[in-house]
């Protein structure tokens, strides 16, 4: 066993046995679900299996990519992450009437790529800009956070437009264009998606220590460098979430209205 001074600047390996020991946490969660009839046993099991499978797969892929240092591979992994994200968004939003997948996917691809490029190439200033040790984690964090924000915003937009269809039509009947008639709904949808990122900025360092910063410190990095990275990450996440949410909401909201600016969403 390593003593404290020996811990500095090196990371302790977690053996398979130690990793399996962490499954005790899952047993506790399963027991809670079982005792209180939460109905989460199946989801917890699937989630645990997926966590192991996906992260091990990601680990092997990243090891391969870091060794090969190939720009096409880096961009390929990035594209796979965005495609996976759009499937998750589709699963959460469950909207069949309005075609929102393609504009959302394209916006995610362009916005997240630009953000990751800006952070790795300009803010961190790494050469080449696609250096996988920086570009892939940056892209992953942007995609993960903004994906959740987009799912929340889209779900809110569709739900409120359905619920408030008659109110929107009342405004349209009084001469409002579709933007004016749905301004409150648009604002609520974008805000709902943005609030988690803004709350995270409020609580960071006080309420919680973010995963990336914790990881860097565990890996032996100087905490003062780790916080600088974390600040960049927090700002990057708010910016990318805002840009992608606003663009997607603008495009998808237009698709909720027909050529006569009539509301296309019908009640469920």
């Amino acid at each position: 066993m390593l003593t404290a001074p020996g811990l500095m600047n090196q990371i302790i390996d977690i053996s398979t046995g130690q990793l399996l020991l962490a499954l005790l946490f899952i047993l506790v969660a399963q027991a809670s679900s079982f005792i209180y009839h939460l109905g989460l046993n199946r989801d917890i099991t699937i989630g645990t299996v997926r966590t192991f499978a996906q992260l091990f797969l990601m680990g092997y892929v990243l090891t391969f990519i870091l060794k090969s240092s190939n720009v096409c591979l880096v961009l390929g992994v990035f594209a796979v992450m965005v495609v996976s994200a759009i499937f998750i968004v589709r699963g959460r939003v469950k909207e069949k009437q309005i075609p929102y997948i393609i504009p959302t996917f394209l916006t995610m691809l362009i916005t997240y790529f630009t953000t990751a490029l800006f952070v790795s190439g300009l803010v961190i200033g790494i050469t080449p800009w696609w250096e996988p040790r920086y570009f892939i984690p940056a892209g992953g964090m942007v995609i993960g956070n903004s994906m959740s924000a987009l799912a929340i915003s889209l779900e809110r937009l569709f739900r409120e437009l359905r619920q408030q269809k008659e109110l929107v039509e009342m405004k349209l009947s009084l001469g409002a264009n579709y933007r004016e008639a749905s301004a409150d709904i648009f604002r609520n949808a974008v805000t709902a998606g943005m609030i988690p990122s803004i709350n995270a900025m409020m609580g960071v360092g006080l309420v919680f220590i973010p995963g990336m910063m914790s990881g860097q410190i565990l890996a032996g990095a100087d905490p003062l460098i780790a916080i600088r990275y974390q600040i960049v990450v927090m700002l990057m996440l708010v910016g990318s979430t805002a840009i992608s949410s606003v663009i997607v909401m603008l495009i998808v909201r237009r698709r909720c209205f027909g050529t006569g600016e009539e509301v296309l969403l019908s009640p469920r």
């Binding site: 039509e169 349209l172 001469g175 264009n177 006569g260």
Partner: protein
């Protein structure tokens, strides 16, 4: 003389439904006319009004407003001239005054003259709403009061054609009489062009509307 509204061979059916609501429906409305469309529930009366102001996707055939196809107008411009009042009146969560001035918050009506407080208060009286104040919460009004307020609000943007969708269906007898009286006065005193659809047996006292019955996918002249 170009009719204010002309419907030519309008056919319409809802998506996913094999039957048509209208088939080759024709209608001509001149300025100052009061058109009353009667028909049972589900015969397509509301759909007809919603198609005229483009709240529903267009069907086959054409609808002309002032001689031009309604699809040639920007939707907001069309709806500031052809104002639709829904069967269930909707208000924003604000005062009576803010609700009445809502149309002026939209770009298309921004240049139109805004009525002042005194003018609004006077208008409220003519709509049998003299007992409510402008700062009263609109959401606390009764359905009958809301319906009259909704008609007044639609008129404030000075539309050329007013479409009233079952304006009395959710009202008691007294409120319904007030709305009928308002409709008749608008037509007889202000020469407003109205199209009203209703499923109830309404016989106007002061005006003689051109009455159609809507059945079997078409309009039939009743009077």
């Amino acid at each position: 003389m170009t009719p204010l509204l002309e419907i030519r061979k309008l056919s319409f059916g809802y998506e996913g439904s094999s039957s048509l609501v209208f088939e080759h429906l024709d209608l001509m409305v001149q300025e100052g006319e009061f058109i009353l469309v009667k028909g049972p529930s589900g015969s397509g009366k509301s759909t007809l009004l919603r198609l005229i102001c483009r709240l529903n996707k267009p069907g086959e055939g054409s609808i002309l407003f002032q001689g031009n196809d309604i699809t040639s107008f920007p939707p907001a411009k069309l709806r500031s001239s052809v104002s639709y009042v829904a069967q269930i009146p909707r208000m924003i969560d604000a005062s009576v005054e803010e609700n009445l001035l809502l149309p002026f918050s939209f770009a298309i009506n921004a240049a139109k003259p805004r009525p002042g407080k005194e003018e609004l208060q006077e208008m409220l009286k003519t709509f049998y709403l003299g007992d409510i104040t402008l700062d009263h919460s609109a959401l606390k009004l009764s359905t009958g009061q809301m319906q009259r307020l909704a008609i007044m609000r639609a008129l404030l943007q000075k539309p050329l054609l007013l479409l009233l969708d079952e304006p009395t269906s959710a009202l008691d007898q007294e409120s319904a009489s007030m709305v009928f009286s308002i409709m008749e006065r608008l037509n007889s005193e202000q020469q407003k062009t109205l199209i009203t659809v209703t499923h109830i047996d309404y016989k106007p006292e002061k005006v003689s509307p051109i009455t159609f019955s809507l059945s079997q996918c078409s309009l039939h002249l009743a009077s």
